[in-house]
Amino acid sequence: MTTQQGFLAAVSAALGRTAPLEAPGARSGRSLEPGGTAAGPGREILARAFADCSREIGAAVVETTRAGLPGALRSAVASAGPGPVVVANDPLLGGLGPAEALLAGREVRVWGGGSPREELVGFAARAAAGLAVATMALAESATVLLLGGGSSVSLLPESVLFVVPSSRIRPRLTEGMEFLSRLGALPAAVHFVSGPSATSDIELIRVVGVHGPVHVTHIVVGDM
């Protein structure tokens, strides 16, 4: 088996060096000069762009307020049909009170809480809906950025609801990557999710709902 030293020696030799570089050569421009105004687009413009793009990529949009959020969540869960609901472990949802009370009448489970992973995955696999919160959202591509909280929550159920506080909507991937760069160490899994899963593998005909969720709803909270 090849060692790191042997492997890198072949790469260095190909680059005309006898040993790997100690530091990389100078880089020219790492990013585009910022365009537009320094302040960037306002919250309403970003929320509008995020909602428009969400619809374009096949995600439903519900616009609500902090006060209307519990009701919006209950009605979105109701439209997912009967069955259990798996909820991400997130302080924003925690702030709405116990999930069992919020979604009374449903079998509910919050990700984590000391249960073995296998058991949680099994529960998420039979859940009708998953409820997660965007750490950040990107307007240009209607992308939801997820850090922790339970990846299977937004992957296994047929319907997934993302709570998107409008203050967390940023223009584009540039801001998403800046945010991750500032974090220092990354969690084991970071996900960028843009709408329901889809494929065009059969005769280039777009089919929504392949392995991941079939229905995705973005619940945008205007004053949060």
């Binding site: 088996m1 492997f7 593998d201 392995h211």
Partner: protein, 468 residues
Amino acid sequence: MGIKTSNLGLRRRMRESLSDAFMRSSIANAQDRINPMRADCCAELDRYEQWRELAAGIRAHTLENLDFYLGQFAGNARRAGSVVHFARDGREAAAVARTVFLQKKARRGVKSKSMVTEEIGLNEALEEIGVQILETDLGEYLLQIDGRDKPSHIVIPALHKNRERIREVLAGQTGYTGDSAPESMTRHVRQILRKAFLEADVGVTGCNFAVASSGSVALLTNEGNGRFVSGIPETLITFVGMERVVPELGDLDALCSLLPRSAVGARSTIYMTLTTGPQGAADVDGPGEHHIVLVDNGRSAVLGSRFRDVLRCIRCGACMLVCPAYRHVGGRGYGVLYPGPLGLALVPAMTGYAESGDLAGICSLCGACNDVCPVKIPLYELILEHRRAMAEDARRTGRVERLAFGQYGRILGNPGLYAAATRWARLANAAPRIGPLGAWSRSRELPRIPGERFRDWFARRRKEGRMD
């Protein structure tokens, strides 16, 4: 599968491709539909040309400093808890996976679409030790169950199959009883693969980008299979072609902005997952064990050659979708894993001319590929360079070509012969369209040779006294 996907000769492969009417119409349809979408989506991106410049710069810088960034990536991935392996060739790379499966006593693996694992023949290597490895990208799955059929495009692998054929295969192999609507067949496969994801012991993925500064691997998919494969099984093995490295997370901005736009005309893929080590104490997600296999398999030879720039490639497939030769030959006619202009530039540099030099002929040098490449690889120039290198090898100068050009020179150099040849050339208009001309002229007009030569016309006008 290996980098070669066919042992047939070039002419035989061409004949088979050209006679596959469905394949040719599907490729033409894909080109005609996706190209305008790509153009619109790129035009909509503010300062697209500057983004391309930036992306090309990132890739070129990484390649120039690849030894440093590979070392940095390996160190940071280890710090995050991943086990990092190095493989000089495909055999070594496959051996790593075999060892992991054997150590874990794993029998079932799920895999998300990955070119590098095809290149190293991973599926075959695992099947030899009794592991069942299932492709989970819908297109790749359909190819796998259809007698391990070969892909026709790097992003849309089952492009050459029509829905009726797919229904037959699903019925024969999986007991499918539904209709041939893409929605129904996709739902059926969803059920089968959902079960496989939940039961698998090991997940195997490729890698779009490996980030040196954080030790993360980025995987982009639309179907969600990449998320399942990297997040559900207890053990994850990520194969990384060694040129996939980028210096920093910020570099993913430009590259991930251009990749889906160039590939299918979308602003973003539906899923992008960054995996940084296995699940730690503070994490609620992630694989229990994460192995990373860095693969050379001929890449360092390309890096050290005049063809280095082709390693900038981010595998979007845009060059294929604009290529007039690919339109007719289709992916499988190339007989190698990487078709189209990318394959012409890359594969001979990896394998040598004896193995795949004939590829360089599948190109009209129109240059359309250069114009759409998001990382500005000079594909046209690299293909031309391969031809030049081969032509310089005297043994490779074909006798037929020498003979043809010799005759041509003789005719041009002799006024009598030239006059006779041009006088009778128009008879070619009446020649029957048979043999290669028959196939060629089915989709094109043959140029017609005018009935009167210029020199005859000129002489006639002078004779008639109309010289003003």
